[in-house]
């Protein structure tokens, strides 16, 4: 009976998933391209990912804690708490940034001429979210020893995806320009 109930639950879940996917496909939305300003903001931000997220890797620099510990030991806990909070906010920010970029890549992937682009995007996303989970886990447990290395990897994953999207978009634009040019 347990297996029967499990199977019925599974079928119900598959039915719900199918209904949601069909509904999402049916729901009409704004057809066409992503707004150019938005694409430009995502692909060519004013500051690079390295500039924006570099401070993350310095949040748990040992020198800062050594200095504070020497001068004012009672502030050490507070400083750690503050920095942990800032790290969380940075992580949220980088996750939102990556999700936007990933969404754009998912829109670009079907229309790109590179058959490996979708696989590359998926791989980058898996790498990013894997690293992100590890960092979140360490953050929750209060292990900040590897934050510096992990954040560098996270930023690198974001930058690589941005570069891949930029090159695919450039290819698509040059293809469109060639198609539109007089023979």
């Amino acid at each position: 009976m347990t297996i029967l109930l499990l199977l019925l639950g599974f079928i119900a879940a598959v039915a719900a998933g199918t209904a949601i996917a069909l509904w999402r496909l049916y729901r009409t939305g704004p057809e066409g391209q992503a707004p150019p300003a938005l694409v430009s903001e995502i692909l060519h931000p004013r500051r690079s990912a390295l500039e924006v997220y570099q401070p993350m890797s310095r949040l748990f620099a040992e020198d800062d804690f050594a200095l504070v510990g020497r001068l004012k030991p009672d502030l050490l806990k507070r400083l750690r708490r503050q920095r942990q909070h800032v790290l969380r906010l940075y992580l949220r920010e980088i996750r939102i940034g990556f999700a936007r970029l990933h969404t754009l890549c998912r829109i670009l992937a079907p229309r790109s001429h590179d058959p490996n682009f979708a696989a590359r995007v998926t791989q980058q996303a898996l790498t990013f979210y894997g690293l992100f989970l590890v960092l979140e886990f360490r953050c929750a447990l209060g292990w900040f020893l590897h934050v510096r290395v992990d954040t560098v990897d996270l930023i690198a994953a974001l930058s690589q995806l941005r570069q891949a999207a930029q090159s695919v978009l450039a290819d698509m634009n040059s293809g469109a320009a060639l198609a539109g040019s007089p023979a």
């Binding site: 009976m1 297996i3 029967l4 199977l7 019925l8 079928i11 598959v14 039915a15 998933g17 199918t18 996917a21 069909l22 999402r24 496909l25 049916y26 729901r27 009409t28 939305g29 704004p30 057809e31 992503a34 938005l38 800062d64 200095l67 504070v68 001068l71 004012k72 502030l75 507070r78 400083l79 503050q82 920095r83 909070h85 800032v86 906010l89 940075y90 949220r92 920010e93 939102i96 936007r100 969404t103 998912r106 829109i107 670009l108 992937a109 079907p110 229309r111 790109s112 001429h113 590179d114 058959p115 490996n116 682009f117 979708a118 696989a119 998926t122």
Partner: protein, 265 residues
């Protein structure tokens, strides 16, 4: 109306609706676009007619009913899976960027589903009472096949939704009709294999009814215009939180104050 008569009526209606949908595909000039669906409909109609003939003919011919039923059932299963691949191919035509990944997802999904269904068949040994063990075994096989087909339909739809691909209306309609039919049958065969022969009349009735409804939907909703129309989906689902920047800057200010305080001391 008696239960058996209603079942027979639905059975013959199923054969009729197979023929009507096949004729509709010919009439709309869509046979070339949906070759597997057309072959399936023809095979299903011929199969239904042959089985009906064998069932109501002489005792000598009745002996062929079982072998013909089992052999043709295998062909129908293969055609169902081919139909899923046809739908996948139609959904991703014109999108070369995700075709390779889609193929990978489709075949790895197929492999995973087959493995899962095999494990389930080996692990799950609870059957209801049946006069013939072969019938019980067939119900179990049907459950696995329809579960697999339902999961494959879901995987296909999730993939297409994930990449925000707009699909043609006819493809969407066929996914709805056949996806629903696969799900209903997965449920019915699950119950059939557990409750045994006592659930057989209900399964036959609801199964035939669901087939009739699914194909009637196809007859009415598949049209020539459906090949040109697509169902686009919105580009960016969520909005970016504007509060985040403010919160981040506030926290950084506070953190700077702590540092300044420490350095002053």
């Amino acid at each position: 109306m008696e239960h058996a008569h209603l079942r027979d009526l639905l059975w013959y209606s199923g054969i009729a609706i197979d023929s009507i949908l096949a004729s509709r595909l010919v009439q709309l000039g869509l046979v070339g676009r949906y070759p597997v669906l057309f072959i399936y409909l023809c095979v299903s109609a011929v199969r239904g007619c042959t089985l009906a003939f064998l069932l109501h003919s002489s005792r000598k011919l009745l002996g062929f009913y079982g072998p013909v039923y089992f052999a043709s059932q295998l062909v129908v299963w293969v055609l169902y899976f081919l139909f899923i691949i046809e739908l996948y191919s139609l959904m991703l035509e014109g999108f070369p960027g995700i075709r390779r990944l889609g193929t990978l997802v489709l075949y790895s999904g197929l492999g995973a589903v087959t493995a899962a269904c095999t494990i389930l068949m080996v692990a799950d040994q609870q059957f209801g009472f049946d006069y013939y063990p072969l019938i019980s075994y067939l119900a179990l096989q049907q459950r696995s096949v329809f579960l697999g087909l339902s999961i494959m339909t879901l995987v296909l739809l999730i993939f297409v939704t994930y990449y925000r691909v707009s699909v043609r209306r006819n493809v969407w309609v066929l996914c709805l009709c056949f996806g629903g039919y696969f799900l209903v049958n997965a449920l019915l065969f699950t119950l059939r294999s557990y409750f045994g022969v006592s659930f057989a009349p209900q399964r036959n009735l609801i199964g035939s009814l669901s087939y009739f409804v699914a194909l009637t939907g196809g007859v009415f909703l598949v049209c020539r215009a459906g090949e040109a129309e697509s169902r686009p989906i919105s580009l960016f689902g969520g909005k970016r939180s504007q509060e985040l920047d403010a919160a981040l800057s506030l926290q950084l200010q506070s953190f700077n104050q702590v540092l300044v305080k420490v350095l002053k001391q």
